[in-house]
Amino acid sequence: MDIVRSTLIVIILGLICAFIQGALLGQIMHVSFIPNFLLIIVVYLAFFESSSLGAFLAFVAGLILDITSGVLLGPWATSFVVVFAVFSVLSQRIFVESFLAAFLSVFFASLMASGVCLSLFYGFQVIGPATLKISVMQGFVSGLLAPIGLGFLRHVLRGSDNSQMSSLLHVGIRQTGKRL
Protein backbone atom coordinates (compact mmCIF):
# COMPACT_ATOMS: atom_id res chain seq x y z
CA MET A 1 0.00 0.00 0.00
CA ASP A 2 1.39 3.45 -0.72
CA ILE A 3 1.82 5.76 2.23
CA VAL A 4 -0.75 8.41 1.28
CA ARG A 5 -3.54 5.92 0.59
CA SER A 6 -2.73 3.98 3.76
CA THR A 7 -2.71 7.12 5.91
CA LEU A 8 -6.03 8.27 4.49
CA ILE A 9 -7.62 4.87 5.07
CA VAL A 10 -6.34 4.76 8.67
CA ILE A 11 -7.59 8.31 9.34
CA ILE A 12 -11.06 7.54 7.95
CA LEU A 13 -11.26 4.22 9.79
CA GLY A 14 -9.98 5.94 12.92
CA LEU A 15 -12.70 8.59 12.81
CA ILE A 16 -15.37 5.95 12.22
CA CYS A 17 -14.06 3.90 15.16
CA ALA A 18 -13.93 6.99 17.42
CA PHE A 19 -17.51 7.80 16.46
CA ILE A 20 -18.70 4.24 17.14
CA GLN A 21 -16.85 4.04 20.47
CA GLY A 22 -17.82 7.51 21.68
CA ALA A 23 -21.18 8.46 20.23
CA LEU A 24 -22.79 5.06 19.68
CA LEU A 25 -21.51 2.51 22.16
CA GLY A 26 -20.63 5.11 24.80
CA GLN A 27 -24.28 6.07 25.16
CA ILE A 28 -25.52 2.51 25.37
CA MET A 29 -23.08 0.60 27.52
CA HIS A 30 -20.58 0.97 30.36
CA VAL A 31 -16.99 1.91 29.45
CA SER A 32 -15.77 -1.58 30.49
CA PHE A 33 -17.66 -3.14 27.61
CA ILE A 34 -16.60 -0.74 24.84
CA PRO A 35 -14.03 -2.43 22.57
CA ASN A 36 -11.04 -0.48 21.31
CA PHE A 37 -11.39 -0.85 17.54
CA LEU A 38 -8.37 1.36 16.88
CA LEU A 39 -6.25 -1.06 18.86
CA ILE A 40 -7.42 -3.89 16.61
CA ILE A 41 -6.21 -1.79 13.67
CA VAL A 42 -2.81 -1.42 15.35
CA VAL A 43 -2.53 -5.17 15.97
CA TYR A 44 -3.44 -5.76 12.33
CA LEU A 45 -0.68 -3.35 11.26
CA ALA A 46 1.81 -5.16 13.49
CA PHE A 47 1.06 -8.51 11.88
CA PHE A 48 0.46 -7.55 8.26
CA GLU A 49 2.41 -4.38 7.46
CA SER A 50 6.08 -3.51 7.15
CA SER A 51 7.75 -1.99 10.17
CA SER A 52 8.27 1.65 9.14
CA LEU A 53 4.94 2.24 7.42
CA GLY A 54 3.04 0.25 10.03
CA ALA A 55 4.65 2.14 12.91
CA PHE A 56 3.74 5.46 11.31
CA LEU A 57 0.14 4.33 10.78
CA ALA A 58 -0.09 3.08 14.38
CA PHE A 59 1.15 6.50 15.50
CA VAL A 60 -1.53 8.21 13.37
CA ALA A 61 -4.25 5.93 14.79
CA GLY A 62 -3.17 6.84 18.32
CA LEU A 63 -3.09 10.51 17.45
CA ILE A 64 -6.71 10.32 16.27
CA LEU A 65 -7.74 8.87 19.63
CA ASP A 66 -5.77 11.59 21.44
CA ILE A 67 -7.41 14.35 19.42
CA THR A 68 -10.93 12.98 19.92
CA SER A 69 -10.24 12.67 23.67
CA GLY A 70 -9.20 16.32 23.68
CA VAL A 71 -6.98 16.16 26.79
CA LEU A 72 -3.38 15.53 25.76
CA LEU A 73 -1.67 14.84 22.45
CA GLY A 74 0.64 11.87 22.57
CA PRO A 75 -0.37 9.27 25.19
CA TRP A 76 -2.38 7.03 22.89
CA ALA A 77 0.02 7.65 19.98
CA THR A 78 2.96 6.57 22.14
CA SER A 79 1.14 3.54 23.56
CA PHE A 80 0.10 2.37 20.07
CA VAL A 81 3.70 2.68 18.84
CA VAL A 82 4.85 0.56 21.80
CA VAL A 83 2.16 -2.06 21.08
CA PHE A 84 3.12 -2.07 17.41
CA ALA A 85 6.81 -2.53 18.22
CA VAL A 86 6.19 -5.42 20.60
CA PHE A 87 3.74 -7.24 18.36
CA SER A 88 5.70 -6.74 15.14
CA VAL A 89 8.51 -8.66 16.87
CA LEU A 90 6.03 -11.33 18.01
CA SER A 91 4.45 -11.52 14.53
CA GLN A 92 7.26 -13.87 13.54
CA ARG A 93 6.13 -16.28 16.22
CA ILE A 94 2.33 -16.07 16.27
CA PHE A 95 -0.10 -17.62 13.82
CA VAL A 96 -2.72 -14.87 14.09
CA GLU A 97 -5.12 -16.56 11.70
CA SER A 98 -6.41 -18.67 14.60
CA PHE A 99 -9.18 -17.31 16.85
CA LEU A 100 -7.24 -17.91 20.08
CA ALA A 101 -4.09 -16.19 18.83
CA ALA A 102 -6.07 -13.18 17.59
CA PHE A 103 -8.00 -12.97 20.88
CA LEU A 104 -4.92 -13.23 23.09
CA SER A 105 -2.93 -10.81 20.96
CA VAL A 106 -5.53 -8.08 21.16
CA PHE A 107 -6.23 -8.81 24.86
CA PHE A 108 -2.61 -8.34 25.88
CA ALA A 109 -2.18 -5.46 23.47
CA SER A 110 -5.11 -3.72 25.17
CA LEU A 111 -3.58 -4.21 28.63
CA MET A 112 -0.24 -2.90 27.41
CA ALA A 113 -1.78 0.12 25.64
CA SER A 114 -3.92 1.02 28.67
CA GLY A 115 -0.95 0.76 31.00
CA VAL A 116 1.31 2.96 28.89
CA CYS A 117 -1.45 5.48 28.17
CA LEU A 118 -2.62 5.82 31.78
CA SER A 119 0.92 6.20 33.07
CA LEU A 120 1.47 9.04 30.60
CA PHE A 121 -1.87 10.65 31.48
CA TYR A 122 -1.78 10.45 35.25
CA GLY A 123 1.29 8.61 36.46
CA PHE A 124 1.18 5.25 38.16
CA GLN A 125 -1.01 6.52 41.00
CA VAL A 126 -4.25 5.71 39.18
CA ILE A 127 -3.54 2.07 38.41
CA GLY A 128 -5.67 0.53 41.15
CA PRO A 129 -8.21 -2.33 41.30
CA ALA A 130 -10.98 -0.40 39.51
CA THR A 131 -8.65 0.62 36.68
CA LEU A 132 -7.34 -2.92 36.31
CA LYS A 133 -10.88 -4.27 36.17
CA ILE A 134 -11.86 -1.85 33.39
CA SER A 135 -8.62 -2.66 31.49
CA VAL A 136 -9.21 -6.41 31.69
CA MET A 137 -12.85 -6.11 30.62
CA GLN A 138 -12.01 -3.81 27.72
CA GLY A 139 -9.22 -6.16 26.64
CA PHE A 140 -11.54 -9.14 26.84
CA VAL A 141 -14.26 -7.48 24.74
CA SER A 142 -11.72 -6.18 22.20
CA GLY A 143 -10.18 -9.65 22.01
CA LEU A 144 -13.54 -11.23 21.28
CA LEU A 145 -14.04 -8.90 18.34
CA ALA A 146 -10.44 -9.27 17.13
CA PRO A 147 -10.94 -12.15 14.67
CA ILE A 148 -13.83 -10.32 12.99
CA GLY A 149 -11.94 -7.04 12.98
CA LEU A 150 -8.71 -8.52 11.62
CA GLY A 151 -10.60 -10.37 8.90
CA PHE A 152 -12.48 -7.24 7.92
CA LEU A 153 -9.29 -5.19 7.79
CA ARG A 154 -7.57 -7.78 5.65
CA HIS A 155 -10.46 -7.67 3.22
CA VAL A 156 -10.64 -3.86 3.12
CA LEU A 157 -6.94 -3.05 3.09
CA ARG A 158 -5.62 -5.94 1.07
CA GLY A 159 -8.49 -6.63 -1.30
CA SER A 160 -9.07 -10.04 -2.88
CA ASP A 161 -5.44 -10.78 -3.72
CA ASN A 162 -4.98 -14.11 -1.92
CA SER A 163 -1.21 -13.90 -1.95
CA GLN A 164 -1.39 -10.88 0.30
CA MET A 165 -4.00 -12.26 2.69
CA SER A 166 -1.54 -14.02 4.94
CA SER A 167 0.34 -12.73 7.91
CA LEU A 168 4.09 -12.38 7.69
CA LEU A 169 4.51 -15.68 9.54
CA HIS A 170 2.28 -17.47 7.09
CA VAL A 171 4.30 -16.07 4.20
CA GLY A 172 7.46 -17.16 5.96
CA ILE A 173 6.16 -20.70 6.34
CA ARG A 174 5.23 -20.88 2.66
CA GLN A 175 8.64 -19.59 1.60
CA THR A 176 10.76 -21.77 3.84
CA GLY A 177 8.43 -24.77 3.87
CA LYS A 178 8.61 -25.20 7.60
CA ARG A 179 6.73 -23.85 10.64
CA LEU A 180 8.89 -21.88 13.10
Binding site: L15, Q21, G62, L65, I67, G70, V71, L72, F121, Y122
Partner: protein, 259 residues
Protein backbone atom coordinates in the same frame (compact mmCIF):
# COMPACT_ATOMS: atom_id res chain seq x y z
CA UNK B 1 12.08 4.44 18.24
CA UNK B 2 11.82 7.91 16.72
CA UNK B 3 8.02 7.80 16.83
CA UNK B 4 8.15 6.74 20.48
CA UNK B 5 10.14 9.84 21.40
CA UNK B 6 7.96 12.02 19.19
CA UNK B 7 4.96 10.72 21.14
CA UNK B 8 6.63 11.50 24.48
CA UNK B 9 7.57 14.96 23.28
CA UNK B 10 3.99 15.62 22.11
CA UNK B 11 2.65 14.51 25.50
CA UNK B 12 4.98 16.86 27.37
CA UNK B 13 4.37 19.74 24.95
CA UNK B 14 0.58 19.44 24.96
CA UNK B 15 0.48 19.24 28.77
CA UNK B 16 2.15 22.68 28.87
CA UNK B 17 0.22 24.05 25.89
CA UNK B 18 -3.35 22.72 26.13
CA UNK B 19 -4.49 24.97 23.24
CA UNK B 20 -2.66 22.59 20.91
CA UNK B 21 -5.06 19.77 21.73
CA UNK B 22 -8.09 22.04 21.85
CA UNK B 23 -7.70 23.18 18.25
CA UNK B 24 -7.48 19.63 16.88
CA UNK B 25 -10.25 18.43 19.18
CA UNK B 26 -12.53 21.27 18.04
CA UNK B 27 -11.96 20.37 14.38
CA UNK B 28 -12.59 16.65 14.89
CA UNK B 29 -15.66 17.32 17.04
CA UNK B 30 -17.04 19.62 14.37
CA UNK B 31 -16.61 16.87 11.75
CA UNK B 32 -18.26 14.24 13.95
CA UNK B 33 -21.03 16.54 15.24
CA UNK B 34 -23.75 15.73 12.66
CA UNK B 35 -23.22 11.98 13.08
CA UNK B 36 -23.20 12.24 16.88
CA UNK B 37 -26.43 14.23 16.88
CA UNK B 38 -28.13 11.81 14.49
CA UNK B 39 -27.07 8.77 16.50
CA UNK B 40 -28.21 10.42 19.74
CA UNK B 41 -31.67 11.02 18.28
CA UNK B 42 -31.94 7.41 17.13
CA UNK B 43 -30.73 5.99 20.45
CA UNK B 44 -32.97 8.21 22.57
CA UNK B 45 -36.05 7.50 20.41
CA UNK B 46 -35.45 3.76 20.56
CA UNK B 47 -34.90 3.95 24.30
CA UNK B 48 -38.10 5.93 24.85
CA UNK B 49 -40.16 3.58 22.72
CA UNK B 50 -38.73 0.59 24.56
CA UNK B 51 -39.19 2.02 28.05
CA UNK B 52 -42.52 3.70 27.33
CA UNK B 53 -44.36 0.94 25.51
CA UNK B 54 -42.55 -2.36 25.36
CA UNK B 55 -40.83 -2.79 28.71
CA UNK B 56 -43.54 -1.63 31.13
CA UNK B 57 -41.92 -3.21 34.12
CA UNK B 58 -43.46 -2.35 37.48
CA UNK B 59 -44.84 0.90 36.09
CA UNK B 60 -47.86 0.91 38.38
CA UNK B 61 -45.76 0.30 41.51
CA UNK B 62 -43.35 3.06 40.52
CA UNK B 63 -46.29 5.37 39.83
CA UNK B 64 -47.70 4.91 43.33
CA UNK B 65 -44.29 5.50 44.88
CA UNK B 66 -43.81 8.64 42.84
CA UNK B 67 -47.24 9.95 43.87
CA UNK B 68 -46.23 9.60 47.51
CA UNK B 69 -42.96 11.39 46.87
CA UNK B 70 -44.74 14.20 45.03
CA UNK B 71 -47.08 14.89 47.91
CA UNK B 72 -44.12 14.99 50.33
CA UNK B 73 -42.25 17.33 48.02
CA UNK B 74 -45.31 19.57 47.71
CA UNK B 75 -45.40 20.18 51.43
CA UNK B 76 -41.64 20.81 51.38
CA UNK B 77 -42.07 23.37 48.61
CA UNK B 78 -44.70 25.20 50.63
CA UNK B 79 -42.46 25.50 53.66
CA UNK B 80 -39.52 26.52 51.46
CA UNK B 81 -41.66 29.23 49.90
CA UNK B 82 -42.36 30.55 53.36
CA UNK B 83 -38.66 30.64 54.10
CA UNK B 84 -37.94 32.36 50.79
CA UNK B 85 -40.50 35.05 51.57
CA UNK B 86 -38.98 35.63 54.95
CA UNK B 87 -35.53 35.75 53.34
CA UNK B 88 -36.75 38.32 50.79
CA UNK B 89 -38.14 40.54 53.48
CA UNK B 90 -34.96 40.35 55.53
CA UNK B 91 -32.81 41.19 52.50
CA UNK B 92 -35.00 44.17 51.68
CA UNK B 93 -34.76 45.31 55.22
CA UNK B 94 -30.99 45.08 55.26
CA UNK B 95 -30.68 46.56 51.75
CA UNK B 96 -28.70 43.59 50.51
CA UNK B 97 -28.16 43.04 46.77
CA UNK B 98 -29.82 39.82 45.60
CA UNK B 99 -27.77 37.24 43.74
CA UNK B 100 -29.08 36.79 40.24
CA UNK B 101 -30.35 33.41 39.11
CA UNK B 102 -27.94 31.27 37.09
CA UNK B 103 -27.91 32.21 33.43
CA UNK B 104 -27.12 29.26 31.20
CA UNK B 105 -27.52 27.28 28.00
CA UNK B 106 -29.27 23.93 27.97
CA UNK B 107 -27.32 21.33 26.00
CA UNK B 108 -27.87 17.68 25.09
CA UNK B 109 -25.23 15.00 25.62
CA UNK B 110 -24.24 13.54 22.24
CA UNK B 111 -21.26 11.38 23.08
CA UNK B 112 -18.59 10.29 25.54
CA UNK B 113 -14.82 9.99 25.33
CA UNK B 114 -14.07 7.22 22.79
CA UNK B 115 -11.00 5.94 24.62
CA UNK B 116 -12.98 5.28 27.80
CA UNK B 117 -10.17 6.50 30.08
CA UNK B 118 -11.02 10.19 30.14
CA UNK B 119 -14.26 11.04 31.97
CA UNK B 120 -15.65 13.49 29.45
CA UNK B 121 -18.80 14.05 27.44
CA UNK B 122 -19.64 15.91 24.24
CA UNK B 123 -22.63 18.26 24.13
CA UNK B 124 -24.44 19.84 21.20
CA UNK B 125 -23.77 23.51 21.96
CA UNK B 126 -20.61 25.30 20.89
CA UNK B 127 -19.17 28.75 20.26
CA UNK B 128 -22.10 29.71 18.06
CA UNK B 129 -24.34 29.40 21.14
CA UNK B 130 -21.97 31.41 23.31
CA UNK B 131 -20.10 28.56 25.00
CA UNK B 132 -16.48 29.28 26.00
CA UNK B 133 -13.68 27.17 27.43
CA UNK B 134 -13.74 27.20 31.22
CA UNK B 135 -17.49 27.53 31.72
CA UNK B 136 -19.01 25.41 34.47
CA UNK B 137 -21.59 22.77 33.62
CA UNK B 138 -24.37 21.64 35.94
CA UNK B 139 -27.44 19.45 35.97
CA UNK B 140 -30.70 19.66 37.90
CA UNK B 141 -29.15 17.33 40.45
CA UNK B 142 -25.81 19.09 40.88
CA UNK B 143 -22.43 19.92 39.40
CA UNK B 144 -21.26 18.07 36.29
CA UNK B 145 -17.92 19.47 35.13
CA UNK B 146 -16.18 22.13 33.09
CA UNK B 147 -15.97 22.94 29.38
CA UNK B 148 -12.48 22.07 28.08
CA UNK B 149 -12.79 22.51 24.33
CA UNK B 150 -15.27 24.22 22.05
CA UNK B 151 -16.02 23.92 18.35
CA UNK B 152 -18.69 25.75 16.37
CA UNK B 153 -21.58 23.45 17.29
CA UNK B 154 -20.32 21.18 20.04
CA UNK B 155 -18.24 21.27 23.20
CA UNK B 156 -16.31 18.88 25.34
CA UNK B 157 -17.00 18.74 29.08
CA UNK B 158 -14.53 17.21 31.55
CA UNK B 159 -16.56 15.56 34.30
CA UNK B 160 -15.97 16.01 38.03
CA UNK B 161 -15.03 12.32 38.25
CA UNK B 162 -12.00 12.68 35.94
CA UNK B 163 -8.51 12.68 37.44
CA UNK B 164 -7.76 15.99 35.78
CA UNK B 165 -10.75 17.73 37.32
CA UNK B 166 -10.47 20.07 40.33
CA UNK B 167 -13.18 22.16 42.04
CA UNK B 168 -12.87 24.28 45.17
CA UNK B 169 -15.48 22.84 47.51
CA UNK B 170 -16.60 22.89 51.10
CA UNK B 171 -18.62 20.85 53.56
CA UNK B 172 -21.95 22.64 53.93
CA UNK B 173 -22.34 21.79 57.63
CA UNK B 174 -19.15 23.29 59.02
CA UNK B 175 -17.61 25.10 55.96
CA UNK B 176 -14.49 22.93 55.93
CA UNK B 177 -12.73 23.62 52.62
CA UNK B 178 -10.97 21.28 50.25
CA UNK B 179 -10.37 20.58 46.55
CA UNK B 180 -12.68 18.08 44.92
CA UNK B 181 -10.92 15.89 42.38
CA UNK B 182 -12.00 12.90 40.36
CA UNK B 183 -10.82 9.32 40.86
CA UNK B 184 -11.39 8.12 37.32
CA UNK B 185 -14.41 6.02 38.25
CA UNK B 186 -17.80 6.96 39.65
CA UNK B 187 -16.63 8.76 42.81
CA UNK B 188 -14.69 11.90 43.67
CA UNK B 189 -12.25 12.72 46.45
CA UNK B 190 -12.16 15.82 48.65
CA UNK B 191 -8.45 16.50 49.05
CA UNK B 192 -6.30 18.60 51.36
CA UNK B 193 -8.62 18.40 54.35
CA UNK B 194 -6.55 18.21 57.51
CA UNK B 195 -7.00 15.34 59.90
CA UNK B 196 -8.29 17.58 62.71
CA UNK B 197 -11.30 18.70 60.70
CA UNK B 198 -14.69 17.19 61.49
CA UNK B 199 -16.01 15.34 58.44
CA UNK B 200 -18.49 12.48 58.64
CA UNK B 201 -20.22 10.27 56.05
CA UNK B 202 -23.41 11.92 54.85
CA UNK B 203 -22.03 15.47 54.92
CA UNK B 204 -23.19 17.55 51.96
CA UNK B 205 -20.45 18.97 49.69
CA UNK B 206 -21.05 22.19 47.74
CA UNK B 207 -18.90 24.52 45.65
CA UNK B 208 -17.23 27.40 47.46
CA UNK B 209 -17.23 29.76 44.47
CA UNK B 210 -13.63 30.77 45.25
CA UNK B 211 -12.17 29.17 42.12
CA UNK B 212 -14.19 31.62 39.98
CA UNK B 213 -15.48 28.72 37.87
CA UNK B 214 -18.52 27.45 39.72
CA UNK B 215 -21.00 29.77 41.41
CA UNK B 216 -21.11 29.40 45.17
CA UNK B 217 -23.35 26.75 46.68
CA UNK B 218 -23.75 24.36 43.74
CA UNK B 219 -24.52 20.90 45.13
CA UNK B 220 -21.80 18.37 44.28
CA UNK B 221 -22.55 15.30 46.37
CA UNK B 222 -22.34 13.62 49.75
CA UNK B 223 -19.42 12.25 51.72
CA UNK B 224 -19.36 8.48 51.29
CA UNK B 225 -16.43 7.51 53.49
CA UNK B 226 -13.70 9.12 55.58
CA UNK B 227 -10.31 7.52 56.17
CA UNK B 228 -7.78 9.05 58.56
CA UNK B 229 -4.55 7.21 58.01
CA UNK B 230 -1.86 8.04 60.56
CA UNK B 231 0.89 8.41 57.92
CA UNK B 232 -0.98 11.04 55.89
CA UNK B 233 -1.26 14.77 56.56
CA UNK B 234 -4.78 14.88 55.17
CA UNK B 235 -7.93 12.80 55.46
CA UNK B 236 -9.00 10.60 52.58
CA UNK B 237 -12.59 11.64 51.90
CA UNK B 238 -14.57 9.90 49.19
CA UNK B 239 -17.51 11.87 47.82
CA UNK B 240 -20.39 10.31 45.95
CA UNK B 241 -21.49 12.76 43.22
CA UNK B 242 -25.11 13.88 43.21
CA UNK B 243 -25.35 13.37 39.47
CA UNK B 244 -25.41 9.93 37.84
CA UNK B 245 -23.05 10.63 34.94
CA UNK B 246 -23.91 7.42 33.14
CA UNK B 247 -27.50 8.63 32.72
CA UNK B 248 -26.89 12.25 31.76
CA UNK B 249 -29.01 13.42 28.87
CA UNK B 250 -29.14 17.20 29.26
CA UNK B 251 -26.94 19.68 31.08
CA UNK B 252 -26.86 23.41 31.81
CA UNK B 253 -23.76 25.35 30.75
CA UNK B 254 -23.45 28.36 33.05
CA UNK B 255 -22.73 31.55 31.13
CA UNK B 256 -19.92 33.70 32.49
CA UNK B 257 -19.40 36.99 30.66
CA UNK B 258 -15.87 37.62 31.90
CA UNK B 259 -14.30 34.47 30.30
Amino acid sequence: MLLFFVGLFLTAYSSRNPETTRIGSAIINQILFPFQTASTVVIRTTSHVWNGYIALIEVRKENRQLEREVSLLRSEVISLNEMQQENDELRQTLNMKEESALDGIVATVIGVDPSGWVQAISVDKGSMSGVRVGMAVTHAGGGVGQVTSVSLNSSRVLLLTDHGSGVDALIQRNRVRGVLGGRGGVDCELKFVEKEEDVIPGDVVVTSGLDMVYPKGVYIGKVKSVNQRTDDLFQRIVVEPAVDFSRLETVLIIIKEDL
